[in-house]
Symmetry: D2
């Protein structure tokens, strides 16, 4: 699509919310306004697209939101959008509002929906990777990841006060259903003794050996970080399997939970979200479509929805080894 053919765009957030989505939204709206485009915000992602919940957004409508967690457009997971009928309804609304292109802020499911929809209905999409899990190919970081890791580390810092005061062993579960990014970064940042993630094999005997050895060496307390999606059943599952052997360390389990999704975004997430929102509009006006924007090695990058959805992104393996050496 050529630049001069794009006059009206829609933007929405979809899937799990992530801190920085508002900063991305602000960047999209303002960059679009700067380029004289009309912008419509769609409420609650694909749900709102199906139900026709559109509202005009101008530059002042995104004032004072850069620092807010969540998303002012709200978000949802949509079952109806997985059906051709749902998507047809959505397409009708987009046409009724005369929308030339859409910008979708979200994760894997969001991009999958965008890909199918644009193929069916011919409306171009640009994707902005927003998910705390950092599991999207085509960008070094996704929007929300840095905030989630900082939130998790702050929580572990507090738990350490108690672990240290009581000489205890803590199993702390962080988010990440299919990905160990949050767990690995939290573990290194909080000086945890071990980290258990879906991407690496976990040998519980080794884990017990490490924890006992650390204690024998004078380490007074230990924290083990476990990714939510660990196949052995998260922190509770793993603790259950080994706690009898480590009873003298009074093992405790804490699940940090939903608070990892919220809060004011960090500097990095605000900068990332601003750059990606800006790039999404700019690239759209340069004729790009059906790609996700990302930042790789500090440069704006485009990745086809196909690759962004299916290519695997894995945390660096050598960081796991480093983490274990630094926790001796």
């Amino acid at each position: 699509m050529k630049r001069e053919d794009i006059r009206r765009i829609a933007v929405f957030t979809s899937g799990g919310d992530a801190p920085g989505m508002n900063a991305a939204l602000r960047a999209v709206v303002r960059t679009a306004a700067w380029n004289k485009l009309h912008v419509y915000g769609i409420e609650r992602g694909y749900e709102g697209m199906i139900d026709g919940h559109f509202k005009r957004m101008e530059r002042r409508d995104v004032a004072n939101i850069i620092q807010r967690g969540g998303t002012v457009l709200r978000t949802a997971r949509s079952m109806r959008f997985m059906t051709p009928e749902g998507r047809a309804q959505a397409a009708d609304h987009l046409r009724a509002y005369d929308i030339d292109a859409c910008i979708a802020i979200g994760g894997n499911g969001t991009f999958t929906g965008a890909k199918i929809f644009s193929e069916e209905h011919g409306i171009p999409f640009i994707g902005i990777p927003g998910t705390i899990d950092n599991d999207l190919y085509g960008t070094d970081y996704t929007i929300g990841f840095d905030t989630a890791v900082n939130t998790a580390i702050e929580a572990v810092d507090k738990i350490r006060d108690t672990a240290d005061s009581h000489n205890r062993l803590f199993f702390v579960e962080v988010m990440g259903r299919h990905s160990g990014y949050i767990a690995l970064h939290t573990a290194i940042g909080s000086g945890a003794s071990s980290v258990l993630i879906p991407e690496a094999n976990t040998n519980l005997e080794d884990l017990k050996t490490v924890l006992k050895k650390n204690k024998a060496r004078g380490k007074l307390f230990s924290v083990v970080i476990v990714a939510e999606g660990h196949p052995m059943g998260g922190a509770a599952g793993i603790a259950a399997k080994i706690k009898d052997d480590l009873a003298s360390m009074e093992p405790k389990v804490t699940v940090i939970g939903h608070l990892q999704r919220g809060g004011a975004p960090t500097a990095l997430d605000r900068l990332l979200a601003s750059r990606l929102g800006y790039a999404a509009v700019t690239k759209l006006l340069e004729g790009e479509e059906n790609v996700a924007v990302g930042i790789v090695n500090d440069l704006v990058t485009l990745t086809s929805f196909e690759e962004a959805i299916y290519k695997e992104k894995k945390p660096q393996g050598d960081l796991i080894e480093m983490a274990s050496i630094l926790a001796i």
Copy 2:
């Protein structure tokens, strides 16, 4: 005991750790140093008293700890101290170090131990109320309570971002095994829809009615705060009982957990801990013994261990009603 007979004192932290314990410790050591007393710190509470883990503490040894969570003397719950033999061993160590009096920082269990011990062995104690639960009679606030409430509210603020973005219902469990103080203050401070505490009867039908009515009135999301010790089984127990009726709100459960115990103490906790540590030494030198210090209506107060342990302290009932009106 007369002032001139007190030359050497011991101080320790015991039971669950609470933010501000270090600030109290600093105040005890420095006020004692100012009064030319020798101070010994006992590690790990009554456990260290039994094992003879004493160390000399001078004014510089408490430098730069006022802002730290946890307790630099560490803490423990001691089974052995519940036996006459354990206490006799502890008394031997105190005598070996020529300790004239002890200052105990902790909660109900700590004070109970102090009471029995001082009756048996004739060594005077002063108690400083340190517990996040605020369930000790004889002081408006206990050390750590304000920090725990602020931590819980910050967590709920983050959860609200997600609750708001997804229009969801959250059941959030905060600490408080026998006491609803943390839950009630967290609920008011976080603008929660309802609060369920051990001290008040919970009618689940009423709760469902309120939540549905709020939704009908346009309230887009709701947070219900539940005290850990709620007889219906905490947040998970309550959610299980009513979630089917509220399925459209996608109810979620979050347990904030141990992070409530840690973190840098708030201004109020540092001031309170400083005043109580200072008062403990001052009152000891005025001849007081076997009492807990507290602040009631901004004035230092003394309460016998007997009363501090057995008298009940309850959150103000009218605050519960107010909370429900403010959340409409």
Copy 3:
């Protein structure tokens, strides 16, 4: 005024903004809604009253603001309201909107305006003390004070990292034009060596002696807290007078500044603001007028505007002495 005669009220924030003002506003609007009153919010305080900037506020209009700093109604200092003409214009607007009573959230200047205006125009007012300075008689704490102190202490905690790493002396200025409350509480909470406030005489020779003695005793760094309104010219003024004598400590000056006014309110400020907002409406409906609500010793209290404005409130003198002992 009798309860049944009050049907429509106005609420506004005025003077310097303070964290917790939004929580108070939410409490006023919801308590009023609960009592079937119509509420109008006036923008920018007395300025908006003069200019007729009124808007209807219903319960949902104050959703999700309890945690926000600043004031959603905005605020201002009004020169025009100091003139009879300005006040007459304001009265015209109140009558045009059929307002039966006003609730004013602010400090000394706000209450002074309310007093004069209600005497002139016969419209009853209730005042809610909102100012970070805590310098209003009739309440233990004003809304915003606890947040400001916590913000200042967090700032000093960070400065201590540097002071400690470099073995330096820091003069840190906190807010408080006529009042040393923020300075005194910040000093105790941050373990500062000294505190200089308008309410106490400052002898610079004594200060130098203390700082030198501390250094001789092995104290590696020192922080001196100075109230903005100190007659010797704030932190910069005092540092200038004594820095030559203390050059070996590399004295530095930091002014914490406006960030003390902002940020999410603390638990205490949210609870206080909620109670005061609730009480303001409740007391109005009980027939009270031209008084400020407050909390003294945990109970709601009423104070005539006269007393609230003119009676002096002073920080406890013995806390200053305690602070100096604890910093040895």
Copy 4:
């Protein structure tokens, strides 16, 4: 130098302190311990090297410091190390302790000292870039930068509450004597209207035009971020030049100051510091010397001291343009 010849190393922090220095120190000590090296910590940088303040550091000596701001080894700027005599004394001490190599954590001045010293005395050095300013060539980020930016943004978030409530214009000064990195990232992250940095020409007429235009377009408040080292005299200097023309916006000046140096390091700074400390020891054992380690595009990189010191690193110019578009 060959791996087997390195048995004893020294580590120190020098120059301005930066959050994350402790995490780097922990990583150096533990990686060295893992490789069976003996480690000595030198207190107060080159000052301590000259005065012989060395202490043995083992793995437990760096427990529980990853989360602390400042540096437990303390730091200083050393005049004496700029003289051949001072350096000779330092070399004597290193030889007396049988030190085979040194790891220096600091900025430009630290690396300059290391370069001269190693040329004169033949003791190999590895540099770790630790400075909040991010002005060192050879690494995408320096240790402490991310924390400083987050601290500055949090401060501006608070100032925005007041700016918004009062409809004001704020000039906020952040650190950066020769570099605009902190200012630029703070400006984007805080949604500031404009940013003034040493690397870009500032046209005050343009600035006034932008601020007036924004106001005319309905922007209710504005924040301008100024780098400390701006040639027009920092925030105060710039405000003085234009405040008369913008009087209606009630311009205020705030200098965030030293608190930017302190505080618990962010996730990114802890990860970066851990990787760099680990890499410094690893590379030393691989025979590298007189280079600084860095992370460029997520990979460990080595840069000669020569280049690290003299090559210029500049913030991306197009980010400045983006920032101005996003703030319309």
